[in-house]
Symmetry: C2
Subunit: 435 residues, 2 copies
């Protein structure tokens, strides 16, 4: 089938990520979409960078030349800002090009004008990457929750601020010290105003508010208060009272109208949002039928943001091709690409394990158990003798390092064969859920 041709405006961090995703996952994307998606033209300040990262694409110096190319199906706008980005997007729409953009500022401030022209020209403007990076929350709001009246949204949607607040809490450090550290780590810009004073979060919650309530985007209505004046004492006192301080973007439909605001907020420590740490983002949506749902993931970074950009490219690609093969396939991949694969027997998986052994409370038992584990190459991370039971039996809890399950079972069989072991060994698998 015919490939979809992309024209890329801006080959910076996110643009480089988009090029990488389309290159590294070309086969997986074609398996899902049924056709190729390829970057055919790139406009960037650096022709060298284009030659290096998109060798197959044509370098175009002038954005207006790129959007005018007849062979471009979709224009991806990653310039950022509202100057050239706005001009190029409006011109591309005027020429009938579909748009994918990660530009929250552009949409929060000029979305109404852009969407109106897009309606008129019958093109799509997709912007999953503009809010919460790689988390598909725009899709959830526009499609997944479409049966609901949305009542409120609260989100941690600025990674820089969340990193700073997390560090302030964990280390008790002052705002300005943590900001300097964040700048050193590349989590904060040299001029951090946009992130720490709530503008970036304001752009994102403004977009989500419009989607939730069916109202034009209205950034001017958004109350903005950032984290720069927070004192680490307040974070400490809040914690003593059972709360965490987070920079939240909040929008809510009330009898008086729509609330739209960004400010530091105390939230009870038991809430999932209170436990979203570092640069991660999360958006909590309350809706009348489904109740509370929450979406968590990386809110920034080249590849997570590119993941959202490319998902939008795939969505548009499905819609602009006239056949029915463009539908989302039932099993996510094209039927011809749904192929039987090998499944691993439970005996062959690798896992860490929790074991509880009930054995006679006497000298040498621990050594016996440890050596039976060692014999099967099971390495012990922790071994703790718990309560001694009535009948001179002790309970021993063992955490193991990762091992093949059949080795674990062989070791358990050997342990259970010991006279000093009184009952079947309890085995529970462990998952670090890390990476």
């Amino acid at each position: 089938m015919q490939a979809i041709n992309i024209g890329l405006l801006g080959l910076g961090t996110v643009g480089g990520g988009v090029a990488q995703v389309l290159r590294d996952n070309a086969q997986e994307i074609a398996r899902r979409l049924g056709r190729d998606v390829r970057i055919i033209a790139v406009c960037d300040k650096s022709a060298e960078r284009v030659a290096e990262l998109c060798p197959q694409a044509t370098f175009v110096a002038n954005p207006m030349d790129l959007v005018a190319r007849e062979d471009v199906d979709i224009v991806v706008e990653l310039f950022g800002g509202t100057g050239m980005a706005k001009e190029a997007v409006l011109q591309a729409i005027q020429l009938g090009k579909h748009i994918v953009t990660a530009n929250k500022k552009l949409l929060a401030e000029y979305g109404n004008e852009i969407f109106a022209l897009a309606e008129q020209k019958n093109v799509m403007v997709q912007f999953e990457a503009a809010v919460a990076g790689g988390i598909p929350v725009i899709k959830a709001l526009r499609e997944g929750l479409a049966a609901n009246q949305i009542q409120s949204i609260a989100g941690i949607i600025n990674g820089t601020s969340n990193f700073i607040l997390t560090e302030m809490r964990e280390k008790g450090s002052a705002f300005k010290d943590v900001l300097a550290e964040a700048q050193r780590l590349g989590y904060a810009e040299a001029d951090p105003t946009f992130d720490i004073e709530g503008h970036d979060a304001g752009h994102k919650i403004t977009i989500m508010s419009a989607l939730a309530f069916g109202t034009p985007v209205n950034f001017g209505a958004c109350y903005l208060e950032g984290i720069s004046k927070l004192d680490s004492r307040d974070i400490k006192y809040a914690e003593e009272l059972g709360y965490r301080v987070k920079l939240l973007g909040i929008t809510r439909k009330t009898e008086k109208g729509i609330e739209l605001r960004v400010h530091p907020t105390l939230i009870p420590e038991c809430r999932l949002l209170a436990n979203v740490n570092g640069v991660m983002n999360a958006v909590r949506v309350n809706a009348d039928m489904v109740g509370e749902t929450l979406y968590y993931g990386a809110g920034a970074g080249a590849l997570p943001t590119a993941s959202a950009v490319v998902a939008d490219l795939i969505d548009i690609s499905r819609l602009i091709t006239a056949d029915t093969e463009n539908r989302v396939p039932h099993l996510a991949f094209q039927p011809s690409q749904v192929v039987p694969q090998n499944f691993v027997s439970i005996d062959d998986i690798s896992s860490s394990y929790y074991l509880r052994v009930q054995a006679a409370d006497k000298v040498g038992v621990l050594g016996t158990i440890a050596s039976l584990l060692a014999k099967e190459n099971v390495s012990i991370e922790a071994l703790i003798q718990k309560a001694v039971l009535d009948n001179n039996q002790a309970e021993i809890v063992i955490l193991t390092h990762s091992t093949i399950e059949k080795n674990m079972k062989a070791a358990i069989a050997a342990i259970e064969a010991q006279e000093c072991v009184a009952a079947p060994v309890t085995l529970i698998r462990m998952e670090s859920l890390h990476g």
Copy 2:
């Protein structure tokens, strides 16, 4: 525009929910979709129930008669099980009807046959409600993360089991006592085998595994181990070691093949999944470009499940109408329905507040502050004197009940005007994030 006509198979708990969502949110759905979605025919054991819950629909006694109706655009299968449900779904597809189903067992066991016939007949079979209830995780896997190679999925996808494990941990109760309580509360069936032995979670992780890796559904390859043999001691010991025990559905691509398994699992207590409690569900997805994302919400219940069923109806409705007006609108609602609405000034919002006041450490100061708050109708939830500072100044931390912000600000102005108050009052808003 022409309405979309639904034929409903089964008017039980979820069927009743679907009828309610389509009725109560008819206007919101039409604002989004641009047309009405209406139930025109219902097959159920009880004609009375149909007359009561869907008075506008025709009662149809025989499911085969319902799927054969020419005026039905989409068949919603909510019979459950694999007997009549399977027969009716296959016949409906044969007759060219699109399908929406919440039936995880049917898809995990007969999905390959059903999807193959659907491809052949060019119809869509949608099943968001079959996995994790109201959480749009099928949409995330098939569309939102389409740019990624998915690496692993781990989910809490059986609410009954999670409720039991949560209670066992919080109360230290034995499995059988908590099960009895869950049955009393309606969270567990009279015969709970299907939930507590991992079958239900197995069906769901089998479906997600196929979507993640592009393989046919293969429930037979799924290792199943439930929670009925768990001892509350192991939950306690795990907690002492920093872990929580959860029933996880896990699927992962490894060099040996695909792992597909359901079993109780120790996970570090700091992970979000470890903090998903009660009947709630959550699915964690690891993918190569976006990294970790997580989706949280209600995994069962009439209205959350109906939310997912109706989202599928809206998706199909967009695709089966030939005009471009069927596209997902930019701002989620049809352009004509995007209407300016009133935004609430920050002075008019209601919120609880954290205040920190620095004042002279002397008799009467607390009383003065309390009465100034009372004068503006600000009610105090907690008032704590914190550290006394060097210069005979005390720090007082106050949590208030909900009040209008302008009252709060007036009270603060009055407090700051007191001679005994040495510095501006620190104000941080609070959100319970509850409901």
